[in-house]
């Protein structure tokens, strides 16, 4: 799969980004643009169930998004990550700092 599809919708006063496909060095800029824009506007949840790859570029975007969320006072969560996303997060050595939840109800 070479395409990254990101849909954005309103969901109970927050923005929900649903990401499908690989977040790698070639596609991360689209992810970056949409996630930064969302966090600047509202609480944001990112559904990563159908993410097929997550590179360090994508991890870096998530880390910056976490900081932006703190700065703006908006909530931020990663929802239902796929196995490869979970492993990529763990592999940083500080996976416990990432706001990962299993379902949207936990946000």
């Amino acid at each position: 799969m070479t395409q990254l599809d990101i849909s954005v919708r309103n969901d109970h006063h927050r923005l929900l980004l649903s990401v499908v496909g690989p977040i790698n060095s070639y596609t991360f800029t689209d992810f970056q643009e949409k996630i930064y824009k969302a966090i600047a506007q509202a609480d944001t949840a990112v559904d990563m169930e159908h993410v097929t790859a997550l590179s360090s570029a994508g991890i870096g975007v998530i880390m910056t998004a976490m900081e932006d969320a703190e700065t703006t006072g908006h909530g931020f969560a990663i929802v239902n990550p796929s196995e490869v996303v979970k492993l990529a997060i763990e592999s940083t050595g500080f996976g416990e700092r990432f706001p990962v939840v299993k379902t949207l109800k936990q946000v």
Binding site: T2, P22, N24, S55, A57, E83, T92
Partner: protein
């Protein structure tokens, strides 16, 4: 009676040294059906980072291509990259990421580009049990063992 070791298996891939090669590599990792899903994920994440570094820091490659081999031998899973570059060795020695000791550089935030840098090789080291770069007069090699 002890369980017999898993039979040897390996698969090769030749990639062009360009950013879009990451898609072919991801498909390659997903297709390694002789490995369990967790090892395929490890190979996909760590291998993509290595490939990214080769494309960024080893280009132009001799012949414009590199070869990748994923293998299971006994209880060990390995991923190897073979390429020929005149510039990668100096990058690798400065980076300090390829070796047995701790990484010499921690991840850092680049405020100009609003990006974290140096995370990829940390991920590779945490995902693998061994990460080695071996420069050679005929071929450079990077080995990861999982």
């Amino acid at each position: 009676m002890p369980a017999s070791p898993e039979p040897r298996a390996e698969r090769d891939l030749v990639l062009s040294a360009e950013g879009s090669a990451v898609f072919a590599f991801e498909d390659f990792a997903d297709g390694l059906d002789f490995l369990p899903p967790i090892d395929r994920c490890r190979i996909k994440i760590a291998g993509s980072e290595i490939l990214d570094n080769i494309v960024k820091h080893a280009s132009p490659l001799d012949g414009g291509t590199l070869r990748v081999r994923a293998a299971r031998r006994g209880g060990s899973v390995t991923l190897a990259f073979y390429f020929r570059s005149t510039s990668f060795a100096s990058f690798a020695s400065g980076e300090g990421a390829f070796g047995e000791g701790p990484a010499s550089r921690e991840p850092f935030f680049d405020p100009t580009h609003r990006r974290w840098r140096g995370i990829g090789l940390v991920m590779c080291r945490n995902l693998s049990t061994r990460l080695v770069f071996r420069p050679g007069s005929r071929m450079d090699r990077i080995f990861l063992e999982f």
